[in-house]
Point group: C2
Chain length 246, copies 2
C-alpha cells in the first residue's frame, strides 16, 4: 500500500501485520505492500527455517525472496539486549540495501504495534537514518481469531477489556479476573497454565474461559480451558475470559 | 470463506468484520465471504442511507445488493430493548429468506465480536432456528488503525492494555490511567472529551495521548490529544494512551 507519495529521495520501511496464522486473515493492504516491496524481511528464531510470518506469506502469496532476521526470544534483560543488538545490525543492513525511493517491509505475526519486534527495528533504523519514512499496516491479532473460533461475544455495550502478559503470575492477573465486567485476555501464559487456571477457579471465571495453543501454526488447538487439563502448555498460547454476564 | 463444509440442509450466518474504514484493511477472508454470500446484510441508522460498513464494501468491492437493517443506537436500557426487537425482526427475515445450504453475511465495522450488533443478531437467529450455523470473521479494529497512524508502539515486552468505553467518566477510567504500565484505549468517549483530558492531565498521560475522530469516515482526523482542544467531539472517537516509558 502506498501510504505516502513515494519520493525518489527517501527510503521506506513498513511493518506489515500478517495476522495470526490463517493466510486468509491477511488484509488487502498487507498483500499489496508485500507484493510491491523491494525488500521483504521476516523475523525467525532459526536461520535455517522460516519463521511463522514467512510461512503465512508462502501460503498466501507463494514463494517470494525473504531476508530472514534472527531474533533471540529469550526473556528478561539479557533477552532484550540481544534483540536490541540484532535489531541494530538488521537496521544497518536495511539502510544499506535500500536505494532511495525503495521500500522494505518487515513481516510480523498479528499486529506490528502489539508485542512485535517491528517497533524495535523501526527505532534502530530511525537512529541510523532519521530520513527513512516509517509506517505500519495493522493485522488481525491472535486473540481475535480465538474469540471468533470459540463463538463468544468478547465485548458488548459498556464492558471493558484487559489484556495482560502471563509470563509471571502476579496480582495483576488476579485483579483483572476479579473485575467481572472486564473481558480478560492473557498472552504468553502457557507455561503458567496451572496457576492461571487456579486463579480463574478462585474468581469464578474458569467455566467461561477458552484457550488457543499455537494459534499461528498448523497444529493449533482451541478449546474450553476446563477441557484442557492443568499441565503447562507452550509459550504461544492465548487465554480468554469473557465478562461475567447475567 | 467456507469456514465449514457446506451442507445442503443447513443455513449459515457469518458476521464479517470490514475493518475501521480504509477499504484496504478488509481481510481476504472477508472479501471472499461477501462475494460468495447469498444474502448480504448491513446495519444502518437510517434506511435511506448506507451505513458505514456498507460504504466500505462499496469502495472495496463495488455496488452489490445489500439488505439494510435499521438499528437504533440509543443509549441505556430503552436503547438495548429497541436493538433487541430490531434484531429479532431481522433474524426472522434472515431465516425465512435463506434457503437450505445458503449463506448470509452480516457486515460490521471493526470486529464482529467487539461492540457490534452481530452477536445480538446471532443470538436472535439461534433462538428462532438453532440449526443455523453461525460463524464470524475477525476485522481490524479502529484503535489498531489509530495506533498505526500515530506511529506509536502500543505494547512492548510485558506491558498490558485496558480498553474501556467512555460514555460515562467514572473511577474506572481514572484507575486505568493511573496504571502507568498499561496502554489505555477509550472508545466512544468523544462527548466526554473535557473530563477525559482532565483525568489524563492529572495522571500525567496527556502529552502521550492520541485521538482519532470519525475514523471510519472520509473526514477522519487523527491528532495528539493536546492539539485538539477541549471541546466535546463526536461519539465515534477513539483515544489512546501508550504505557508510560522511561
Amino acid at each position: 500500500m502506498k501510504l505516502h507519495n513515494v519520493s525518489t529521495h527517501r527510503k521506506y520501511l513498513c511493518g506489515v501485520g500478517v495476522g495470526p496464522g490463517n493466510p486468509k486473515l491477511l488484509t488487502l493492504a498487507a498483500v499489496e505492500a508485500i507484493e510491491s516491496a523491494d525488500l521483504v524481511l521476516a523475523p525467525t528464531s532459526s536461520q535455517d527455517e522460516p519463521g511463522r510470518a514467512e510461512e503465512i506469506i508462502q501460503k498466501a502469496i507463494g514463494a517470494i525472496p525473504i531476508r530472514r532476521i534472527l531474533f533471540d526470544m529469550a526473556k528478561g534483560e539479557s533477552g532484550i539486549e540481544l534483540r536490541k543488538s540484532t535489531a541494530l545490525v538488521a537496521a544497518k543492513e536495511i539502510v544499506e540495501l535500500l536505494q532511495p525511493g525503495e521500500k522494505a517491509v518487515f513481516l510480523t505475526l498479528g499486529d506490528p504495534n502489539v508485542f512485535s519486534t517491528f517497533n524495535l527495528l523501526a527505532r534502530s533504523v530511525a537512529s541510523i537514518d532519521p530520513s527513512v519514512e516509517i509506517s505500519s499496516i495493522p493485522g488481525i491479532m491472535a486473540f481475535q481469531d480465538l474469540v471468533s473460533r470459540s463463538g463468544m461475544t468478547l465485548l458488548d455495550e459498556e464492558e471493558s477489556l484487559r489484556l495482560l502478559v502471563g509470563l509471571q503470575v502476579d496480582d495483576k492477573i488476579e485483579e483483572a479476573l476479579k473485575d467481572s465486567s472486564s473481558a480478560v485476555v492473557i498472552y504468553k501464559g502457557g507455561r503458567n497454565l496451572p496457576a492461571i487456571v487456579e486463579l480463574a477457579k478462585k474468581t469464578g471465571r474458569l467455566e467461561d474461559g477458552w484457550i488457543g495453543v499455537k494459534i499461528g501454526l498448523g497444529e493449533s488447538e482451541v478449546d474450553r480451558l476446563q477441557n484442557i487439563g492443568t499441565e503447562p502448555v507452550g509459550y504461544l498460547s492465548t487465554m480468554i475470559f469473557p465478562p461475567k454476564r447475567h
